[in-house]
């Protein structure tokens, strides 16, 4: 009896608590051993803090109007970079440095708000379809195909017409067209996992279907989906920019990177910076989340963990 007690104490004190710390430290270690991922994280954090500050503490920054662009109609032609305007200006006399700082807020939140719900819906549908197979698979995947075939621009415009031209309706439209990608992706990954013997072993243990799907299949399908999410954060920013570029924005003067790019469109030959600089910030974000996604994949892959 005494011996048993002492053993139990040991497991409680010496093993469980340090274990969690060790896990966390190991995770960080794995992530930081990937230099490119760290670079991605740093860039991502710049965007993140930019968005955070503008959203919650705009008074820190010397902006009169943090949520709209400030045109200068006295001097509307784009000016090249100078001390006064480090990134130059774009039509109509908007200072690009300030405009980019303001724009990141909207792009950052929107891309997260679209990709994450889209990925969750897609994953659930994809996993259910594959796991049960048969007609459930057939029905769900055909629905996915139908939604997949809807051009997002058309849907965004339609939803904008019905719900009003707001950022929310744009978000809903994009989530609606975004999940099928994840459903297909989750399906392709799950098809492979489903056939592995440990799923059968779980069934032999009396594990319910629901638990098998979310305890065994989901974690095993997650790493590739994670990478896809990080890829998509960049892509969705391009999409939002494209929508803004064709004028699908609730208000003029709304700071948004794509819209900013479209402002310089007419001056591409005489003032290329007006397009290149906002475009560069879109690309930089896409690149950063990509690199970061790679690092995250290493973290959640036990095989990579134990190499350290």
């Amino acid at each position: 009896m005494k011996e048993k007690m002492s053993k139990k104490d040991m497991t409680d004190k010496n093993e469980i608590k340090p274990d969690r710390w060790r896990e966390l430290r190991l995770s960080l270690q794995v992530f930081f051993s990937n230099k490119a991922a760290v670079a991605g994280l740093v860039i991502f954090l710049f965007y993140f803090f930019d968005a955070l500050i503008l959203q919650f503490f705009p008074q820190i920054l010397p902006f009169k109007h943090p949520y709209s662009l400030t045109p200068n109609y006295a001097d509307p032609i784009p000016l090249p970079p100078s001390w006064k305007h480090p990134f130059g200006t774009t039509y109509p006399g908007v200072d690009l440095l300030r405009a980019v700082i303001k724009s990141i807020r909207l792009d950052f939140w929107l891309s997260l708000e679209i990709v994450i719900p889209g990925a969750i819906i897609g994953l659930i549908i994809g996993i259910i379809a594959t796991y049960f197979g048969g007609w459930i698979d057939e029905v769900l995947m055909r629905i996915t195909d139908i939604v997949f075939s809807i051009p997002y621009l058309v849907l965004a415009i339609a939803i904008g017409y019905v719900l009003g031209r707001t950022l929310n309706s744009m978000m809903i439209a994009l989530i609606l067209v975004w999940w099928p990608l994840y459903a297909r992706y989750a399906r392709s990954v799950t098809l492979e996992t489903k056939e592995l013997t440990f799923i059968e072993a779980a069934r032999a243990s009396g594990t319910s279907n629901f638990k098998i799907m979310f305890k065994h299949i989901l974690p095993n399908s997650l790493p590739p989906v994670f990478v896809q999410i990080s890829l998509d954060l960049g892509t969705i920013m391009l999409t939002i920019s494209a929508l803004a570029f064709i004028g699908f924005l609730p208000a003029a003067n709304l700071p948004e990177l794509g819209y900013l790019t479209s402002l310089g469109y007419n001056y591409i030959q005489t003032a290329p910076w007006a397009m290149i600089i906002p475009g560069l910030f879109i690309v930089l974000f896409a690149l950063a989340v990509n690199l970061m996604g790679d690092g995250f994949r290493d973290v959640i892959d036990p095989r990579r963990r134990s190499e350290l």
Binding site: T11, L196, F198, A204
Partner: protein, 421 residues
């Protein structure tokens, strides 16, 4: 009997082909006693694994009954009732012991009483779970234990399979093949099951580790008196471990019996061939080399499924015109091509062929010469001349059933049913 199956069949659908079924297991009767190790042997694709999975309802059978924990006398009653087609008696026993209609809680209780260890220790452990979670899964899910007791049981099981306790925090990929298989074994016996299905537990391991795992299994059996169904294609593993042996071929049980009887004195021609393939020290054994390949289970041979490869097949073992035709064609167009010209063989129906442009006498002569070497020719009953064409009639085939011999021996072969009569 801890478990008994009657007329158990499993047909798998063929994807994309309508009405085609793979008859993986057909009309199988087996029974396993409490605490005995039964070896299930047979070549790849013979349905061994499917049968093992059927027994613990990992896959649903197409038809048949599986009775769990049934007393011997009631099983006998059940057999008699089946024979006499006594629906009431059948239903009474089925309601009491069948696992086919278990649901929810009852099914979980059943799952607690059975375990399974899979062949490949690399894919049978979830790479994202820690060893402790893997071993705890059946304990938690079947409601065997709860709360802190689970952890204690996991550590106890690690001791049981001779792994250090620290392994509970490791991930599967940090372990070697043998260690993984021990973990799989710990999971298989986690809930103190009365029956464990061992699906080729050693075939993915190297030889020295195989021996360790087998020793461990023997020890566990001694300690807990678990019944085990050892599925393997390795006869030496069976001869080391098993009390009784079932031999399977193409989805059917060919022979059942005590290990020593089967290995020293195989009765069924297939078992003889199988046993003769095991190398032996200080003894030259006459190997029986079977011709051809295991049959296609979508359209298995009629009669006895082994007859196309059987070295002692009888005329009534299941030959059909489709099987005789290639042999005749071989004789006509290759071996004796000088004797024939413009001769064609056509299948009339299952038991009748027509040979065009041939003489009956000539054909009869050739068939008599070749009969011994070319078994399909044995099945030709009549050779009838019909002005220039020859009609060949075959013997009607019979389907063998398991024949009970002395010493608990059962053989599914016409050689023995004829002998019995």
């Amino acid at each position: 009997m801890i478990i008994a199956a009657r007329q158990l069949s499993k047909f798998f659908d063929v994807k994309g082909v309508k009405n085609a079924k793979i008859r993986a297991v057909e009309n199988v009767n087996i029974e396993i006693k409490e605490g005995e190790i039964v070896g299930l042997v047979g070549e790849s694709g013979s349905g061994k694994s499917t049968l093992g999975r059927l027994l613990i309802r990992l896959i649903e059978p197409t038809s048949g009954e599986i009775l769990y924990n049934i007393p011997d006398d009631e099983l006998d009653e059940f057999d008699i009732a089946l024979k006499n087609n006594d629906q009431n008696a059948v239903k009474k026993i089925v309601d009491k012991y069948s696992i086919m209609r278990l649901h929810g809680k009852e099914l979980k209780t059943f799952r607690r009483n059975v375990g399974i260890v899979f062949q490949d220790p690399y894919s049978s452990l979830d790479p994202r779970l820690k060893i402790e979670d893997i071993i705890a899964e059946p304990i938690v899910e079947t409601g065997f234990l709860k709360g802190p007791k689970v952890k204690a049981r996991v550590l106890e099981l690690l001791d049981e399979v001779q792994l250090p306790r620290e392994f509970s925090y490791r991930f599967p990929h940090e372990l070697s093949g043998g260690q993984r298989q021990r973990v799989a074994l710990a999971r298989g016996i986690a809930t103190n099951p009365k029956l464990v299905i061992l699906d080729e537990p050693t075939s993915a391991l190297d030889v020295s580790i195989q021996a360790e795992i087998l020793e461990l299994l023997k020890e566990l059996r001694k300690k807990y008196n678990m019944a085990m169904l050892l599925i393997t294609h390795n006869i030496s593993v069976v001869s080391y471990m098993a009390d009784r042996v079932f031999v399977m071929y193409a989805g059917k049980i060919m022979e059942k019996g005590n290990k020593n009887d089967i290995i020293k004195n195989p009765e069924h021609p297939y078992t003889q061939a199988l046993i003769s393939a095991v190398p032996q020290i200080k003894r030259v054994r006459q190997r029986i080399i079977l011709k051809g390949d295991p049959p296609n289970l979508i359209n298995p041979p009629k009669g006895c499924r082994f007859h196309p490869r059987c070295p002692v097949a009888l005329p009534i073992c299941g030959w059909t015109a489709d099987e005789v035709k290639p042999t005749l064609e071989y004789l006509i167009s290759s071996k004796y091509f000088t004797e024939f010209s413009n001769t064609k063989v056509e299948v009339k129906d299952e038991l009748e062929l027509t040979v065009y442009n041939a003489k009956a006498d000539k054909l009869r002569e050739i068939i008599n010469i070749e009969k011994e070497n070319l078994r399909p020719l044995m099945s030709i009953k009549d050779i009838i001349d019909e002005n220039g064409n020859v009609t060949l009639k075959l013997y009607k085939y019979e389907t063998p059933e398991l024949i009970k011999l002395e010493n608990g021996r059962e053989v599914e072969c016409l050689l023995f049913s004829k002998f019995k009569e």
